[in-house]
Point group: C2
Chain length 446, copies 2
């Protein structure tokens, strides 16, 4: 019999069907056995009645067994209907169960409130929880919406390399790779330089890049490998053109996410608050004055970011708020200085629900100016010769920005730690398993 | 004045417009200057007539200057119309030119037949050629079509890590990374194990992953970093279910590509030949018999792959052909053995225009069987403990496959070398610039 997806059972009341999936829950009540069966489309309650030829097999199964089940789709008696729940009005009367794959006894109750360490140590199992399935389903929605929005706005996708010669940003700590012939390569900390090169080719480009940060950081906002969503665009007047495209993208992303209210519900998060009016925007100084803090600091602290977001939410009805005019020396070397407000730059951050999720700027497009800036930062333009070719041969005014997919997912679902929004997070102490130099089964093995 | 894209000029005949872009060609004829202007939407001819106030600036510009041009969109005289060419019926009479960015004299003629080395040494410049723009525009189309097809077929996208503990395949040469606290990590050679874990979560998953091969190989088919498009699906009967989804994806990809005949034309390649009938499929033995070669070899040589593709094209009207039933020992450890045809497996390859572009299989889903196979290959199951959790706790029958984006692009456009289909190819001797241990400006710099 052809497989029916659990999410489509409502259209098969009165029929005998075959479903395939996992035993989500099994409650053995002696004479009969109740189930929740799970597949990619959802859950349905099953019951194996006394006298069913499937009863012995039903009693043998337990959580996470993979089964093929034949059964009759019955309407539930009125008093047992669970309104508002998927398949709340039906149940599957089990006629036959075929075990496709057995499961060992689970090491813990999957529904329990698990510590982050347990969650990560047992990712292949814990990802099957409703909460985790919702988090990464939404992540896929966010990514697809980001790409679709940019493609609609005339952007071309490209593939940025992860293996690079030198560190693009000249800042963040970098992982070293043993390359061929005793050479050393680096893992990219950003696709920035390639994105600018590609702006000279297609004007409007984006990339979904893996980037790597070797910072010895153990905050709730940092991971060592992340997914960065980057775009860059040419022929802008200034950074406000970039902010306008980013705002359009974020509106599309929030709209696509909001079409999946069930995923927010599964995690216990609220839908994003998007204003009808343009996203609020403050200069760094305005933000500092609003918070009543010193205007001499070159950046906002995490608690300040939260404060500004509270203000934007209460006063402007927005979970999003731009901060502009950061001092040039605090931004990357290619950041364009504001002509009228030096030493402030044409860089900006986008805060979302208390956290910076995006950073962007107009960039320097003049070759001589860019070389000068590299030198001023104590770097050698020779090491940027490949990149500088783009500027030697005519680069238009341009700018762009980058959004961390994991941070965006984290704040969209009000998670406490970015690792909860990362399928297989890497940090100082973990690559899937905990790393320990004493452990011979560590990453050096096999 | 608002910018008009060059591709939309045809709708503005008789009007004065402002365009922005690059000087693609400038021909100074003394009293007047002819141009081709280029932006992301195409090319248009411009002319700066005697007496135009823009004439001095027109004479100053050269190839790759970035300009903003005001001009009148005129119909060309009948005898000058270039039928079939973009904007072949109009030209822009230049009234004013503003130089946004200057360019140095080009180091070579961009239209020349460049060597691969020159192409790659000057990527930021050579990518602006019509041929290169077409190659990577098509690559973006292929990738988007691959994703769209799978999403439509119920697949969920996920992010596979690039930093891994041990080598998934236990085969290919692996790059080593200096990780935190004197640990060593590896760069992923495949997202395979994560893809299987995720199949236990969402049933149908795909990922676009960066993968890394440290093989000392210098063929026209190998690069050290590539983009792999991977899917995996659960509740299959056998590998034929995977092949059916792959065939549907490749039909969608070929259809999307064929909507961009201009890109094929720019590179001089023919559109892919897709049969109305199912893709032809041969067992390895059938392929060997067809070629009249020994049936004792466990795989096809590159020349054999070309021979089979010639056959498929001539006899079946197809640029695609499946090969099945490879010996199990030649495939990865997780490959499912064919019950009735051991020692042959349920693995397959998809050949396209003479080259293997995809490899796939049904996988082992039984925990004990998988542990046994790891041991038989001389590996330690302890090193796979994280991955094996998925199988300990109930894994459905499943299979999947992976397609190299660069190889697909290469064959789609009949390119000679996969590096031509890679924006910034990494190999034994190159990370953007040529590597040389004597060169202090190498990747160790900055």
């Amino acid at each position: 019999m052809e497989r029916t997806l659990i999410g489509e059972l409502g259209a098969h009341v009165g029929e005998t069907v075959s479903i395939s999936g996992w035993v989500d829950v099994r409650r053995d009540q002696g004479k009969m056995v109740f189930f929740d069966f799970r597949d990619r489309s959802g859950l349905v309650q099953g019951v194996c009645l006394p006298g069913s030829p499937a009863l012995d097999t039903a009693k043998e199964t337990r959580g996470e067994y993979v089964v093929r089940v034949e059964g009759a789709v019955n309407k539930r008696p009125e008093k047992n209907v669970q309104a508002g729940k998927q398949n709340g009005g039906i149940e599957l009367e089990v006629k036959a169960i075929e075990v496709l794959s057995r499961a060992e006894a689970l090491p813990f109750d999957l529904d329990a409130d698990l510590t982050l360490e347990t969650l990560l140590d047992h990712r292949p199992l814990t990802l099957r929880r409703e909460r985790e399935r919702a988090i990464f389903k939404l992540q896929a929605v966010l990514l697809q919406a980001y790409r679709d929005s940019l493609i609609r706005q005339g952007f071309t996708e490209f593939q940025a390399p992860a293996l690079v010669g030198s560190d693009a940003e000249g800042g963040a700590e970098v992982f070293k790779v043993d390359y061929f012939n005793d050479q050393t390569a680096n893992l990219a900390t950003s696709p920035q330089l390639y994105k600018q090169i590609m702006t000279g080719v297609y004007e409007r480009v984006f990339t979904i890049a893996r980037i790597f940060r070797a910072e010895k950081s153990a905050t709730t906002r940092h991971i060592s490998e992340l997914t960065q969503m980057d775009f860059e665009m040419a022929f802008i007047e200034d950074e406000r053109d970039v902010m306008a495209v980013l705002e359009a993208v974020m509106r599309d992303v929030a709209r696509a996410a909001s079409e999946h209210a069930d995923l927010f519900f599964a995690v216990g998060a609220g839908l994003p608050l998007v204003p009808d009016a343009p996203f609020p925007a403050l200069t760094l100084r305005e933000a500092q004055e609003l918070l009543g803090i010193s205007t001499s600091e070159p950046d906002l602290e995490p608690s300040h970011e939260r404060g500004i977001c509270e203000w934007a939410k209460l006063e402007k009805g927005s979970d999003f708020v731009f901060i502009t005019r950061f001092p040039t020396h605090k931004r990357a070397f290619y950041t364009y200085e504001h002509e009228d407000e030096a030493p402030h730059s044409r860089g900006f951050d986008l805060l979302f629900r208390g956290l910076e999720i995006n950073s962007g700027a107009q960039r320097i497009h003049d070759y001589a100016e860019l070389v000068k800036r590299i030198e001023e930062r104590g770097m050698d333009p020779k090491n940027f010769a490949f990149y500088l070719q783009a500027f030697k041969y005519g680069m238009p005014p341009h700018g762009g920005c980058s959004t961390g997919l994991e941070r965006l997912t984290m704040k969209m679902l009000d998670l406490d730690n970015v690792k909860e929004a990362t399928l297989f997070p890497r940090d100082m102490n973990r690559i899937d398993v905990l790393l320990s130099s004493a452990d011979s089964d560590g990453p050096d093995g096999a």
